[in-house]
Amino acid sequence: MAAATKTVDQVAALESYEHGFVTDIDQEFAPKGLNADIVRFISAKKQEPQWMLDWRLEAFERWLAMDEPDWAKVSFPKIDYQDAFYYAAPKAKDGPKSLDEVDPELLAVYAKLGIPLKEQEVLAGVEGAPRYAVDAVFDSVSVVTTFKKELAEAGIIFCPMSEAIRDHGELVRKYLASVVPVSDNYFACLNSAVFSDGSFVYVPPGVRCPMELSTYFRINAENSGQFERTLIIADKGAYVSYLEGCTAPMRDENQLHAAVVELVLLDDAEIKYSTVQNWYPGDPATGKGGIYNFVTKRADCRGDRSKVSWTQVETGSAITWKYPSCVLRGEGSSGEFYSIAITNGRQQADTGTKMIHLGANTRSRIISKGISAGRSSNTYRGLVSAHPKAKGARNFTQCDSLLIGKTCAAHTVPYVEARNGQCVFEHEATTTKLSEDQLFYAMQRGLSQEEAVQLLVNGFVRDVLQQLPMEFAVEAQKLVAISLEGSVG
């Protein structure tokens, strides 16, 4: 009975996009359009040092000379880069000093999103309850970061990017764009010029971050793009687990999200990066609106025996175009990529990973599960390459696609480049539809068709769900169910 009520509630709650509300918050905008003055404006707003402004302007110059790439299996009308706001911030007096000073309406937004921002609530919980520090980014600025003090005691820096540029200029200067160079690609270059905020994390040598760090991104303002920049540095022997969640309101226009995430790992360091991406996917029937999610994510395993693990659950966005990558430079370093990409309605996703083996005895593993329903298209595109020096490199890739319905599409495009005689690369892929036998079995046991599909899909993606941190796993499982709402029958 309880299960039945839960399902009814879930269906009622999720008939539309849950996070589709707009919050009317006093916003401050930069003028529409993009030119060098806007770049200067953003830099001035952030009170950045001169070197940062020069860096941005140079990026902008280079961006002007670049062409928008078109090789992905996604189609969308040409983006008018002049018809968007590049800076939108909730109006605040001198920046919030504590949670009490933050606009209560804003806090309400986060409460709606289910983010336990208020530390006291978390602290008041049962002893041993999960605790995680949160950095919340609202449109272009980071509004609040929790647990800073406790983290600082461990020597960990966790703060908004803009603050890091001011207070930890040396560290930022050393590592910024060292993983994703300014002109790496069109969208990364645009991001370099206009990024407004994001998270900065530095974990000093030998420190195991005592809690999960997490960032919530939300695009709220109309016609605005979000360009956040995240930089995480794990020094020798450090460990950090980082979670990222995204939502946006329902709008008729497409909004651009072009983020850059850089991870740097020194010897024996480990970073676990988990994403639950739930941007507004656009109207399922007409395909109107939704976020263009064009993100560059890359981890550089510089140190020997370092390890990076990307886990992503992609359910939102009108278009997703991203390849979280691992550059395995250090000897014995390893990279992992676990992904669930679900597309429904008219969503398009072209996502996957790159495992670039440069060092000896490097290892990587890719598990990708794609599910397409409705009229959507879902592409896995991945590269596994071994440099001549990457002796003993090993990769295992498994990508499975599940098709639900007659009008969706699933593609698998792996690239394998093996340049030495001592590497072993294995790849396997399957594309199938939901098994009718299994569905029948579940249904004759009394499950409705929708429940049966959810059960089977959850089984299909189980390998990846298991890799998610506890807090996310529950949310992700729910998301999987939501995303497939209305895809059968």
């Binding site: 698998t412 005689g421 199938t432």
Partner: protein
Amino acid sequence: MTLAAAIRTGDAGLLPSRRDEDWRWTDLRGLLRVLPDASAAFAGDAGAGPFSALGGEDLVLVNGGRAEIAVEAGEARQVCLRFVSRGAGRHASVVRVTLGEGARLRLLESYESDGASLAQVDLDIVQAGQARVERVVIADDDADAVTVSQTQVRLSPGSRFSQSVLTSGARRQRLETRILHPGGQAELRLDGIYLLDGKRHADLTTVVTHQGVDGATGQLTKGVVRDQSRAVFQGRITVAEGADRTAARMAHHGLILSDRAEIDAKPELEIYADDVACAHGNTVGALDQDALFYALQRGIPADEALALLTEAFIGEVVDRIEFEPARDIARAWVTARLGGRP
């Protein structure tokens, strides 16, 4: 076809380059800044080809040309089709093959060159219902030759096409097969073998488009690269909307036997129908050291052990050739290229 146009006009700017996604690993423009002169007509004797001993009709195109093979309904034929390049010129060949209802054709094809030639072949095969083709190709090119073979096959419901391509590569070589598969119980087998050494390069590209219900495709490619050679495997299976109950399997396995050799692979699935069972597997790597050790400790010399193991590895593909005399020739060809070499 830009390559054909480049050969016709002599304009190197028309050659495909690595900026073309389909040619990213087989760059011709970067290789040939200037095209060789057009080949002169060849008057001498082309000698015997790899399949000449098997009899049947001979169709030899030396330094380009045009030919047609029309197999009437119900007829069965065996044709040795030889593309021979003599000298260092550029030339193109065009061959049209048609098969009537229930016709059968054994197409024993070879590529033979003796210098720095640039050759392009355009082969077009159209099969009516119930027609059967078995195509066995041995590409035995010169190390300085540049060869591109482009084949299009149009199947009909109930027809069958099986192909085995064996190549030892060239300076740059691409053997490309594009197939329109109408479903309707038509069957398709696409196999490939590459055995490369020195600085040779070979690119086996296949594109299969399933357009109707109930189609089947089986694909197995295996190969060995040594020295500084480079093999490319690109396989794409597309299942169009409505082509339900398609069963497609693709496998590619490559062995790298030297530290400077390279294998690039791109097995693609592009699926627009939901009731399908498609899978691909791809492995690239070194020889199993345990197997080698086992052979060594049984007293088999290293060279021989290596030859034995690689031959067994490749043998699986050779065994799938249906026409036994051609299978024997293919096996001997493989053994000759693997035997006794470390």
